[in-house]
């Protein structure tokens, strides 16, 4: 059986001649500040990174500043993408929001409450997924709910629901190693969604997938985001992907990671990776990013571990 993920309107788009839809022109944000963004000052941000710094002790005993004074507000229901060169601390930032680590200074606030431990209101989808190989697909999806202490009947109902949502109902009793990369990705998504988090943290989730699968999952994710209304913080090194998905893109600098610039993406949805407007928007960000990438490459050539 082949599952049809394709949104017909997107298919038409692909066939259509290159054109930028009215009102979809990329407007570079000349003064990108938090205030310029949709987050209302009176509204409490869903996630608020307040002056976050993180220092590591490296193997040879020296200290390394990974994140430096990060200030970011994420509005309720917003889709924020974070881009940056490898080694800028993007993943670390997500771990901090998830409560898996504590920052050296600053606070992470979720609903104005400081985050000091993991909680199922903020679920992180790891880059390497971290699906449990000893559990079946359905049991993986059930896991978070089981930890929460939900009743068995409700758990199995929700497992059905979320597996259907990611089109994996038929694979409930398979083991994860029997699935393809894209399917495993969807299991991780279902597992995260099943706990009904308010914030979904995604760490380069689609980096290892082929282009077709990734396109389908972009559509899926956008649909699920619209359906559930959750807040998403999505880390990627792919600028186009960030523009394709995000309401806003934050660019981090190479070590120490700082917010270099923020970009509001006000292109109409649904978007597609191949849309010219997406490409134009991405180029703008990419120019800023390239500088950081060069720094990261230089550091690599000088033998600094990335």
């Amino acid at each position: 059986m082949t599952v049809n993920f394709t949104n017909p309107s997107l298919l038409e788009d692909r066939k259509a001649p290159l054109r930028i839809r009215a009102g979809s022109h990329w407007k570079p944000d000349s003064a990108p500040t938090v205030a310029a963004l949709r987050a209302d000052a009176s509204d409490i941000p869903k996630v608020w990174l307040k002056g976050i710094s993180l220092e590591y002790k490296t193997g040879n005993g020296s200290r390394l500043l990974a994140l430096d004074d990060i200030n970011l507000k994420v509005a309720r229901g917003e889709f924020l993408c974070i881009v940056g060169p490898s080694g800028c601390g993007k993943s670390t930032l997500l771990h901090l929001v998830a409560g898996l680590h504590q920052p050296s200074s600053g606070t992470v606030l979720a609903d104005d409450r400081p985050v000091d431990r993991p909680g199922t209101d903020r679920i992180l989808i790891f880059q390497e997924l971290g699906l449990f190989p000893w559990l079946k697909v359905g049991e993986n999806v059930e896991f978070g709910m089981k930890m929460k202490g939900l009743a068995k009947s409700e758990r199995s109902e929700r497992v059905q629901h979320y597996l259907r949502l990611v089109h994996l109902s038929k694979f409930k009793d398979s083991y994860t190693h029997q699935l393809s990369g894209g399917m495993r990705q969807r299991v991780a998504l279902a597992r995260a969604l099943a706990t009904e988090p308010e914030v979904l943290l995604m760490d380069e989730p689609f980096a290892a997938l082929d282009a077709q699968t990734r396109d389908l999952l972009h559509d899926e994710l956008e649909r699920i985001w619209a359906e559930t209304g959750c807040t998403i913080i999505f880390v990627t090194h792919n600028v186009r992907e960030a523009v394709r998905l995000g309401d806003r893109v934050a660019l981090l600098t190479f070590r120490p990671g700082r917010v270099k610039r923020e970009y509001a993406v006000d292109l109409p949805r649904p978007r597609h990776l191949e849309d010219p407007s997406v490409a134009i928007a991405a180029r703008e960000i990419l120019d800023d990013l390239r500088e950081e990438i060069n720094k990261s490459i230089a550091a690599e050539y000088e033998g600094v571990p990335v």
Binding site: H95, A98, L100, R117, P118, G119, T120, I123, L124, F126, E128, G130, L131, F132, P133, W134, L135, F143, G144, K146, M147, K148, Y175, T176, H177, Q178, R191, T195
Partner: protein, 256 residues
């Protein structure tokens, strides 16, 4: 088809082996009390079971190994988790455990006899010492070498404390634990038989020594066959089945 071929190969191999054995015995290269014929070994096996001495021997040895092995698992888990949970212990005691493992467990017998006398406790001690280290090291390896992602994913999904241990850390380290349990069993079985041989008590090791004392080579070989058979049943059937199921589940080998 493949299975039939494999069984056929085994049948041929053992038939040839038995044939050579029977032939050598028939030629009387060595006197029969040094080199008994297959049939006389078979006779000893039959007699041993008929007069219950083998059943008693197996019963006594199995009772000892079950007690000793269970105790070793319990202690090994506690010790292994203890060592893995503490950086200081891990770096100091970890090395000691590995070096102690090079000591054949029968070397603990003199110490055990002095501490406990010629009692069941002494035998139990040797069995425990034989398998404890493998199990401890495997538990420790399970905790320290298990991919960190499982722990993080578990915490992220709301597991902590006992739940994290039971639902994530324990299953995630199961492949390590199982290989430790298997190795521990093999060591425990060897230690038990050697212990029983040296010191007068019932059990299979003792039966082996009885054969020697009576100059009954058929009995000696019959008991050796018993020891190998029990080892094969536990290792080959129980542990290998568990391993295969685990590997299938984890996708470590293609499903058969």
């Amino acid at each position: 088809m493949k299975g039939i071929r494999k069984i056929g190969m085994h049948v041929i191999f053992y038939a040839v082996l038995l044939g050579i054995w029977a032939l050598l015995a028939k030629l009387k290269v060595w006197p029969s009390y040094v080199f008994p014929a297959p049939l006389s070994v078979l006779q000893s096996l039959r007699d041993g079971f008929a007069d219950h001495s083998f059943w008693i021997g197996i019963g006594v040895s199995m009772k000892r190994i079950i007690f000793g092995y269970a105790l070793a698992i319990l202690l090994g888990m506690v010790l292994g988790l203890g060592v893995a949970s503490n950086k200081f212990l891990e770096e100091t005691m970890g090395g000691l455990l590995v070096s102690l493992q090079s000591l054949p467990s029968i070397c603990w017998l003199p110490l055990a006899v002095l501490w406990f006398g010629l009692t069941e406790k002494a035998i139990l001690f040797v069995v425990v010492m034989g398998s404890l280290l493998s199990i401890t090291i495997a538990m420790e390896a399970g905790r320290t070498q298990m991919p960190k992602i499982y722990r993080m994913a578990g915490r992220n999904l709301g597991a902590d404390g006992v739940k994290l241990f039971w639902y994530v850390l324990l299953p995630a380290s199961l492949p390590f634990i199982l290989s430790g349990l298997k190795q521990g069993w093999a060591f425990a079985w060897r230690s038990l038989i050697s212990g029983e041989m040296i010191f007068v008590s019932l059990g299979l090791g003792q039966l082996l020594m009885t054969g020697r004392d009576l100059n009954d080579m058929s009995l000696v070989i019959a008991v050796m066959i018993l020891i190998v058979a029990i080892g094969f049943i536990v290792d080959g059937l129980i542990f290998r089945t568990l391993e295969r199921r685990l590997q299938h589940k984890w996708g470590l080998t293609p499903a058969t």
